[in-house]
């Protein structure tokens, strides 16, 4: 089967293509070179005047796992406002802040997304994360396994184990949890909270292990690099939401000593203490540091106004902030000497000083970071806003008059604390394609996604150009997933299941002896039962595992 997409205006930053009219050919789910003239085209889509990009990739979205399902169970009142009836190919479900898995998959595809990555896979809960992602149709999935507050890692660090042993443990964790990267949340802090510490700054010691977050970040960023895992250590910083945390964030950037690091939802970590209310924007300092330090990337975690729910592995911060929640309820958990979680519903209000300034800080960061290959479009779904608000966010970035109009309606005190009105930058389609496609694929390590070159998977989105970018990005004309037409005029026409992307860095299997002893002594399940097998993901044809290439293990770099 040979399909031709003809005459579309193509944005493919991975190949430097910026709005060029060209044809794309698809065979057996892959993009291929232009075939011989003698070959029969089975199907042609005439895309003259349409915008063509690779399928979009959400590199940080909470779509599966324990805390997401706690949030679902907790919020029947939110679901009731957004029921999704069975229609056509799609089964019923519900949407808004934490959609059911089916509805999440459909809605991602309906706005042109073809992949999403769950950023907080607790190794002890990895099976659940994959079960939920396995029931999320349409898009490819993957997860980052959480380390850094687990007792085994902290014990190894406290015992001054060789970096190679740490690297083996990190690689083992990736394999056992079927992950594509490693995330650290509030480095060491989740563990410290279990010992009743309430804050843990970068150089503060965990009272039990005598370890600082700085050591955790450095060791793990180095491990990820030395293992050749393409995705840099994915870091949710310490002191989330605390005024003044901009200092912690800047120090964390320096703390990894040049190893690659991705700082996630950086908006929540860019707060100063200036002004009457001791809450101010640290965006310009953060952007300046990102611009300068090429080993650093970040996604924003933009907040948008309205009801949502915050779900996080950072139970220390969530417990601290629970009283700000709305409606007032909270679930926190200590989890398996491995991690934790906290779920707090939240309503961001445009007339609230702090919320309005958070909104402005996020946009300032977007607009002040020069390199779109190192800044990514997220709302930290659902923490800043549900992912369905992405088209609105894109319009805020691409349309300065719209942005300024919205800004002018916000809490007046917040306006005086932001430089947003003076920033005239507008993102281009090419830059949007970098942030949401080429850059995201490169960052996550998806070698065959996010671009439109020969050999790439044919995950392709086609839009009608529209000056109203929110309308344009909300409803693509066509979405192709692995070469199949799955969305037409913004509605699902075919249900597919997508794949699970992983990496399998090499490691010394000898590490299992130590891990098994640890499980047998201290855990409540066997080590073998913690591992998520290939069969569990692939049985029933629900998913297939794609192992993305690692760069090969590096020798010690320090």
């Amino acid at each position: 089967m040979l399909t031709k997409l003809s005459g579309g205006t193509v944005y493919d930053p991975a190949h430097g293509i910026d709005g060029k009219v060209m044809d794309i050919y698809i065979r057996d789910g892959r993009i291929v070179e232009r075939p011989q003239d003698t070959e029969r085209i089975d199907q042609e889509y005439k895309l003259n005047g349409k915008i063509v990009m690779a399928g979009a990739i959400d590199m940080h979205t909470h779509i599966g796992g324990g805390k997401v399902n706690i949030a679902r169970s907790m919020l029947p009142e939110d679901h009731r406002h957004d029921p999704a009836a069975h229609s056509g190919a799609c089964r019923a479900g519900c949407g808004h802040a934490v959609p059911s898995t089916l509805t999440a998959g459909y809605r991602y595809a309906e706005m042109g997304y073809t992949a999403g990555f769950e950023p907080a896979v607790l190794p002890m809960n990895a099976r659940q994360a994959h079960l939920e992602m396995g029931d999320t149709p349409m898009i490819d999935k993957g997860g980052y396994a959480m380390l850094g507050s687990d007792d085994l890692f902290l014990r190894m660090l406290a015992a001054k184990k060789d970096q190679n042993a740490i690297n083996d443990y990190v690689a083992w964790t990736i394999a056992a949890s079927q992950a594509i990267g490693i995330k650290v949340v509030n480095a060491g802090g989740i563990n410290a909270f279990k010992f009743n510490q309430r804050f843990l700054d970068l150089d503060e010691k965990n009272s039990r292990y005598d370890i600082t977050p700085r050591e955790v970040l450095k060791t793990l960023s180095r491990a990820v690099y030395e293992l050749g895992v393409p995705h840099p250590l994915h870091v949710h910083g310490n002191n989330l939401g605390v005024p003044g945390n901009v200092e912690t964030t800047l120090n964390s950037m320096a703390g990894v000593e040049g190893y690659p690091m991705h700082l996630t939802h950086i908006q929540f970590h860019s707060y100063g203490v200036e002004g009457d209310r001791k809450f101010s924007s640290g965006a310009s300092r953060i952007a300046e540091a990102i611009n300068k330090n090429k080993n650093i990337s970040a996604d924003v975690g933009q907040i948008l106004f309205g009801q949502t729910v915050t779900v996080s592995g950072d139970q220390m911060s969530q417990f601290r902030n629970a009283e700000l929640g709305s409606p007032r309820k909270m679930v926190c958990m200590d989890i398996e000497c491995d991690a934790g979680c906290g779920v707090v519903p939240f309503k961001y209000k445009d007339q609230n000083f702090v919320n309005a300034l958070q909104w402005a800080i996020g946009l300032e960061i977007f607009l002040l970071v020069d390199d779109p290959w190192r800044i990514f479009l997220t709302t930290d779904h659902p923490n800043g806003a549900p992912f369905t608000s992405y088209p609105h966010l894109i319009k805020l970035l691409m349309d300065k008059s719209f942005r300024k109009d919205v800004f002018a309606t916000l809490n007046a005190d917040a306006q005086t604390m932001s430089t947003l009105a003076s920033i005239d930058r507008e993102y281009t389609l090419y830059e949007i394609a970098i942030m949401t496609r080429a850059g995201a694929a490169k960052l996550v390590g998806l070698h065959d996604r996010g671009h439109l070159g020969a050999g790439a998977a044919a995950d392709i989105t086609v839009y009608t150009d529209n000056a109203d970018r929110e309308k344009m990005f909300a409803k693509p004309d066509y979405v192709f997933k692995d070469g199949q037409l799955v969305v037409k005029d913004g509605s699902i026409v075919k249900v597919v299941w997508g794949a699970t992307h992983t990496v399998r860095p090499e490691f010394d299997r000898g590490i299992e002896k130590e891990i098994k002893t640890y499980f047998d002594k201290y855990h409540t399940i066997k080590m073998e039962h913690m591992k998520v097998s290939n069969d569990e993901l692939e049985d029933g044809g629900r998913s297939k595992i794609i192992v993305q290439e690692c760069k090969g293990r590096r020798e010690k770099t320090a």
Binding site: I70, G88, G93, Q128, C332, M333, D338
Partner: protein
């Protein structure tokens, strides 16, 4: 690949009998598929695995039928109904996924056999929340365990053995010094709460129906509120005051309860007191709640239902959207009021969990040894996950899920296979790719 026709000893077997999902059992299989627990089985597990391989023949109105005939008949009953109900839901993750699909296709209402107990927790989660913990944290951290309204062992027999009196912990705690306090109920079996060195637990008794008052008073003392009472439901105020002080002084206390044991009107308010008490303790020290119990896949059913529909059970696809109502969609109520006009009852683990009495046409997919006072219209014996087929199940802490092994060849179909066949039969499958 296992050769199930040969005798074997299988280690690290996971037991699905209760919410603990102990995964350290050793089970011996003879060449006929008869299983015997050799190591680490509680009495319940021993009896569970010892069940003989049963006849796999389905029945229609008590008469033997082929699987295909039984599926056709069951599909007709469910398809003809205006308000079909799938209840019991004694199954695992794989079975529950298939239940959700059939329910969605056939616009069906869902309820679990343990829902009355489950709601004592779920309503608290939805109304105010909690701060809970998981079993490995308990095993390594607890210094004061407060057990409320239950003996624990009758619902989770190995809890004390595995999580409290374990020898080693990550932080070199002397587990023999762990303090155990039972609060509420009378004449409970507190023997498993006796420390290895013979130290007895503290037992504070009260009538179960007065437990809400006692727990409310304890919460007040934890919050430092003055209480004008010398005794609460026969418990001296000073005893509760003292308990509150011990909780405040503990480094990592755990407050546990078993929802099934709290057979009180509006027991959710008592659970809410416990949850709020734990949250209050966390202002100054560390504490966590731990709901115990769990059976017949109740935790798994709620998890799967929540991610696929957005809601835990009791929910319904009757209106072509998922809909949730803890009162309206009670199976018991739906059957008593004659609202449900067909019942599919599922009980893959427990032969004794039979459907409630009803005049509605009834289909049962159940454990092969099930016996009925009133023979259902259709009975299909199905595989028990963890014995006859593999599966996946959630532990009571709602975080850890475990693979269940197939231990023998019994010819019984997996529930999911039967449900998929029915869904196909109903001929309504929209989008064949969704399975």
């Amino acid at each position: 690949m296992d050769n199930f026709s040969q005798a074997a000893t299988v280690v690290s077997v996971t037991c699905p009998c209760c919410g603990l999902l102990c995964d350290d059992l050793t089970v011996q299989r003879d060449s006929a598929g008869q299983l015997t627990v050799k190591e680490n089985g509680c009495a319940r597990a021993v009896a569970f695995f010892a069940r003989a391989v049963a006849a796999s023949e389905p029945r229609i109105a008590g008469k033997p039928a082929t699987l295909q005939e039984a599926i056709t008949k069951a599909a007709r009953i469910l398809g003809d109904a205006k308000q079909p109900l799938i209840a019991g839901l004694g199954t695992d993750v794989d079975g529950m996924r298939a239940v959700m699909n059939l329910a969605e296709t056939n616009r069906t209402t869902l309820d679990h056999m343990n829902s009355n107990a489950l709601f004592r927790n779920m309503l608290v989660l939805q109304n105010s929340g909690w701060f809970n913990t998981t079993l490995t944290e308990v095993r390594n951290r607890v210094d004061l365990l407060l057990v409320v309204g239950t003996d624990v062992v009758s619902v989770n027999p190995r809890f004390f053995e595995r999580e409290i009196w374990n020898k080693e912990t990550l932080y070199n705690q002397d587990t023999a010094k762990r303090e155990i306090v039972y609060l509420g109920g009378r004449g409970l079996d507190t023997s498993t709460g006796i420390a290895p060195d013979g130290r007895k637990p503290d037992v504070i008794e009260c009538d179960m129906d007065r437990l809400p008052e006692v727990v409310g008073a304890l919460r007040a003392f934890v919050l430092g509120k003055p209480l004008i009472a010398n005794e609460i439901a026969g418990v001296p105020a000073a005893t509760l005051q003292n308990l509150a002080q011990r909780l405040l002084a503990a480094k990592y206390s755990i407050v546990t309860w078993a929802a099934g044991a709290l057979a009180l009107p509006h027991a959710e308010l008592t659970v809410q007191h416990l949850a709020a008490l734990v949250i209050a303790l966390n202002k100054t020290t560390r504490s966590a709640g731990l709901p115990l119990g769990g059976s017949d896949g109740d935790t798994s059913a709620n998890q799967v239902s929540a991610w696929i529909s957005g809601y835990p059970v009791r929910n319904s696809y009757m209106r072509n959207i998922p809909d949730y109502d803890p009162w309206l969609y009670s199976a018991e109520r739906q059957l008593q009021n004659g609202e449900a006009d067909a019942l599919l009852w599922i009980s893959s683990f427990s032969p004794e969990r039979v459907p409630p009495a009803t005049d509605a046409p009834t289909v049962v997919f159940g454990e092969a040894h099930m016996k009925f006072d009133k023979e259902p219209d259709v009975f299909i014996p199905v595989a028990t996950p963890g014995v006859d087929c593999k599966g996946t199940m959630f532990r009571i802490d709602n975080v850890v899920s475990l693979p269940l092994q197939k231990l023998r060849d019994s010819k019984l179909p997996a529930l999911a296979e039967v449900l998929r066949a029915i869904e196909q039969q109903l001929g309504q499958e929209q989008g064949a790719a969704i399975c």
